[in-house]
């Protein structure tokens, strides 16, 4: 990976409005973003491509975010995963970290906050 390649981000949230809000902001910040509202489709994409960063909701139909996080870390251990959730509890936060999440961000959050977290994940993924 060369230094001028964009950092790639997979975004998964079953609420279209979340993807609609986050994707353009992340792209404007210089990231290459693919957004999904179905975990099955996101999972399939992961079999085709390794992303630098994955942002995933927790509570979704089908494969939930915790299972998605587990699968991502199993297939691509280097991918940094950020969990975003509207159902934050101490237990889910702890479980996420035990499964190797980079950060746990409770909704609602401002775009500035998630961009900061993504930048930190990027810095860890690609230390200069």
């Amino acid at each position: 990976m060369t230094s001028d390649q964009k950092t790639t981000v997979l975004l998964l949230d079953d609420e279209p409005i979340v993807c609609k809000r986050l994707k353009p902001s992340l792209e404007k910040a210089g990231y290459d973003v693919e957004a999904f509202t179905k975990s099955r489709e996101a999972m399939h994409r992961l079999t085709e491509k390794e992303f630098d960063i994955a942002i995933t909701d927790l509570k979704m139909d089908g494969m939930d975010g915790m299972a998605f996080l587990t699968e991502v870390k199993k297939r691509h251990p280097a991918t940094e995963v950020i969990v975003i959730t509207g159902f934050a509890t101490m237990e889910t936060a702890k479980e996420s970290y035990q499964k190797g999440v980079f950060d746990f961000v409770a909704k609602p959050f401002k775009l500035g906050e998630i961009l900061e977290v993504v930048k930190k994940a990027e810095a860890k993924h690609r230390p200069s």
């Binding site: 509570k59 934050a88 509890t89 936060a93 409770a106 909704k107 609602p108 401002k110 906050e113």
Partner: protein, 292 residues
């Protein structure tokens, strides 16, 4: 999520801090604890921090209480990340000092000086707060001892949601009142989060005037109900006549949290014509969540 707690040295602030601790325990939010001192000018334009001021001492106690509750070794706020940071002393002079930060999340402690509500709003804007939490007296004034109007003005003018904690009771039910069409995604998520954290029941109340519900507002009530139902959150919905609403909110509603989606064209302006948000939060006996 970013939470701003603004408090003074009185018991209502101490009880509001408990709400912040509970929120932080589950959301692992970035938290700022803020107190506001009266504006003072000192020689050479430097602000000398009066460390004996009761508000400064209270802020220290709040930080200690926060970390006592949430600073254990498996907590994101555990003070285990040592480093050096440059601290500005005055114009052109910096000092590098050793600091200890939370292992994953920070709790910042800040003092501002000036008008209380102005400084709280400025801090919230600068910090990108998603929620401001304040305590206040339970009486009709809903005020602070040293700045009577501060909580009401913050509730009336903040760009983000504001939780006015008036009592130290667990939240068992959230009564979310809606009378306008535009509801932000952030406000839906805030209610979602509070229902989850408190394992509370959710009831949506559509406000009507003279028996007629604006058809769009009624549609919105149903849409929001469906939004929460789709997320697996049991929700009840009902309509309430505005003329009887003041009587409802001015009685003690026990372990309820009254939540309001606020807007410029709210029906509540008919009940409280001037500075209606501020008057409204003053009338409510229970804790109030102003949603934006």
């Amino acid at each position: 999520m970013r939470i701003l707690f603004a408090g003074d040295e009185h018991p209502y602030s101490a009880q509001a801090l408990k709400k912040v601790i509970e929120l932080a325990r589950h959301t692992w939010a970035d938290v700022t604890l803020l107190s506001v001192l009266p504006a003072q000018a000192s020689a050479q334009g430097e602000f000398l921090l009066p460390t004996q001021d009761l508000r400064v001492q209270a802020l220290r106690r709040y930080r200690e209480e926060f970390l006592e509750n949430l600073g254990s070794s498996d907590s994101p706020y555990a003070l285990e990340r040592w480093g050096h940071e440059w601290i500005p002393l005055r114009n052109g002079i910096w000092e590098e000092i050793k600091v200890c930060r939370g292992v994953k999340k920070d709790v910042k402690v800040r003092i501002r000086s000036g008008n209380a509500d102005t400084e709280i709003l400025n801090e919230a804007e600068k910090d990108g707060s998603d929620l401001i939490v304040l305590g206040c007296g339970k009486g009709g004034q809903c005020g602070w001892e040293s700045s009577a109007a501060a909580p009401r003005k913050v509730a009336g003018n903040a760009a983000c949601s504001v939780l006015l904690a008036k009592e130290d009771k667990p939240i068992r039910r959230i009564l979310a009142c809606i009378d306008q069409i535009s509801v932000s995604q952030e406000s839906l998520e805030m209610i979602n989060q509070l229902v989850t954290i408190h394992d509370a029941q959710l009831e949506l109340i559509g406000l009507t005037h003279d028996g007629a519900a604006k058809s769009e507002a009624y549609t919105r009530l149903i849409q929001i109900g469906d939004y929460y139902s789709d997320k697996g959150i049991p929700v009840k919905t009902r309509l309430a006549e505005l003329s009887k609403f003041e009587a409802v909110i001015s009685t003690d509603t026990g372990q309820d949290l009254l939540a309001f989606w606020m807007g410029k064209k709210s029906l509540l302006t008919l009940l409280f014509p001037r500075d209606w948000v501020e008057r409204f939060v003053g009338v409510c006996q229970s804790s109030v969540l102003v949603l934006r």
